[in-house]
């Protein structure tokens, strides 16, 4: 009897270890930064939604936010931004990444990101994020080094001077684990 139980335990152990889990984005703040000699502006969105699915030790994350949800405090600037990034034709900014489940722990983590925005797809390798654990939940902060040229966007101009190519996106997210 005991050998049979031992065999059964050995057979079920991998399944216990590799139990599927899901993550849900609880709250988020995405902030893009635009620089111009006469202006600095930040556009903020709190309307991102995300989901992560972990299976066989590997986790796939998907985060998306409506382009229109970014608010810089100036409606004229926001409308112009939506026009320039073709936000009515491509209304969502979507980020995908894949991480080993074992790396989801407190501390620095490097992630390869695929970002879909303005009808283009850009890949960012080894983007640094800081993870902090709060019970079973995680908080994540980091900056995606996006540029205007990555997405083939025609840079807006003020007084004939274009904005800077760099438009870093600061990411602050809280994820809750679901089983």
């Amino acid at each position: 009897m005991k050998p049979i139980l031992a065999v059964l335990l050995l057979l079920t152990l991998p399944a216990i270890v590799r139990a599927d889990s899901q993550w849900v984005l609880e709250k988020s703040t995405l902030t893009y930064h635009v620089s111009h000699p006469l202006h600095e502006a930040d556009g903020v969105s709190h309307e991102a939604r995300g989901k992560g699915v972990c299976q066989a030790g590997q986790c796939n994350f998907l985060i998306a936010a409506p382009v229109k949800s970014f608010n810089s405090g100036d409606s004229n600037r926001d409308l112009h931004m939506i026009e320039v990034v073709r936000g009515a034709e491509f209304p969502m900014v979507v980020v995908r990444t894949e991480l080993p489940e074992a790396e989801i722990k407190a501390g620095p983590i490097h992630a390869d990101l695929e970002v879909q925005f303005a009808g283009q797809t850009a890949h960012y390798k080894q983007v640094l994020f800081q993870l902090t654990m709060q019970g079973g939940d995680i908080s994540l902060t980091g900056t995606i080094p996006a540029t205007v040229s990555d997405f083939k966007i025609d840079p807006p101009k003020l007084l004939m001077i274009p904005i800077k190519n760099e438009i870093p996106v600061r990411v602050e997210m809280s994820w809750q684990r679901e089983k």
């Binding site: 006469l38 202006h39 600095e40 939604r49 995300g50 989901k51 992560g52 699915v53 972990c54 299976q55 066989a56 590997q58 986790c59 796939n60 994350f61 998907l62 998306a64 409506p66 229109k68 810089s72 405090g73 100036d74 409606s75 004229n76 600037r77 409308l79 112009h80 939506i82 026009e83 320039v84 073709r86 936000g87 009515a88 034709e89 491509f90 209304p91 969502m92 979507v94 995908r96 695929e114 879909q116 009808g119 283009q120 797809t121 003020l158 007084l159």
Partner: protein
């Protein structure tokens, strides 16, 4: 047939056949097109999907991307057999084969199924309403027109500052005790040019498409508020100027309502300057400039200035 001519017949036939079937002749006929649409299993268009068109004979491949309607078209293909693949993130790729003939258009549509990798979530699982995820080309066209018109408004508005400043400067010479009409004529001409450019700029601002559901906030509020001062001012100033011009031309001293021409002109120009600064400088700078101009004009600490300050504080949070 002439025996001499008959000797050349085989040669002539060879030349004709060579021209018809030579690679040079065939390579000129790259006029075929493969087009189609990429959708998901629900029939929704898949934008930015990658479509690869590969010539089976030569191995040459061309890549295209679907537009917001999920459509693609690869043109200028030589006749032959092609292998066409469609792929997009989150979907399993699909491949099809098609043969195209000269100048023909072949249609090949793809319906992509969600990726068999069950661990990858899809956009539809996030619960966004369809109104937020669906492309709206009509709204994009409206935004494009709005941006174009506001760019024209900006350019004309900036150009207007040149004759406006010149008009204000020559205004000092146009009045006074001088009986010369040259200075007055120059001032009047510059004033007319200023008014013409101003109203051209105003046209683009007024008739730029409005975007429904947009709440006006930020420095654009100050910019629009100033229009209620420089707009009527730009109408009243030339009227009073014409009256003053007529009185001076008749050798009279400017009197009556016409004597307020320069005051109205100064206020109009100042409001115009604040309007430009409000959309040029950073939030705090624009509000401080507005306060200084208001104080200089003796307008005091008005309710509208308080509102502007509150907007400035929220913008800087």
């Amino acid at each position: 047939m002439n025996p001499k001519a008959a000797k050349f017949l085989p040669v002539l036939m060879f030349v004709v056949l060579w021209l018809a079937y030579s690679p040079c002749a065939q390579a000129q006929v790259a006029s075929a097109t493969i087009s189609g649409k990429v959708t998901n299993s629900s029939g929704t268009a898949v934008a930015s999907a990658t479509v690869s068109v590969k010539n089976v004979a030569t191995g040459e491949a061309i890549e295209a991307r679907t537009d917001s309607a999920g459509s693609y078209a690869v043109k200028n293909l030589v006749p032959g057999d092609y292998e066409v693949s469609a792929s997009a993130p989150g979907f399993a790729s699909k491949t099809g084969k098609v043969a195209v003939t000269q100048s023909a258009t072949q249609t090949l549509d793809f319906s992509l199924a969600a990726s068999s990798n069950a661990a990858a979530p899809s956009l539809s699982e996030l619960g966004f309403p369809s109104s937020e995820t669906k492309a709206n080309p009509q709204e994009q066209a409206r935004l494009d027109k709005r941006s174009h018109m506001l760019q024209m408004h900006q350019r004309l508005g900036l150009i207007t500052t040149v004759p406006l400043v010149a008009t204000v400067i020559t205004g000092a010479l146009a009045g006074g005790k001088s009986t010369s009409s040259t200075d007055r004529d120059l001032h009047a001409a510059l004033g007319s040019a200023t008014a013409g450019l101003y109203f051209a700029s105003a046209y683009y601002a007024i008739f730029a498409p409005k975007i429904p559901g947009t709440k006006t906030e930020g420095n654009i509020r100050l910019h629009k508020a100033m229009a209620w001062i420089h707009g009527p001012g730009m109408i009243l100033t030339p009227i009073l100027g014409e009256m003053a011009f007529s009185q001076k031309s008749q050798g009279e001293k400017v009197h009556g309502i016409a004597q307020y021409h320069s005051d109205v002109a100064i206020i109009t120009a100042a409001a115009y300057g604040v309007a430009i600064l409000s959309v040029t400088l950073k939030s705090g700078s624009a509000s401080r400039s507005a306060h200084r101009v208001a104080a200089a004009l003796g307008l005091g600490h008005s309710h509208s200035a308080d509102t502007i300050v509150e907007d400035d504080s929220s913008a800087n949070r």
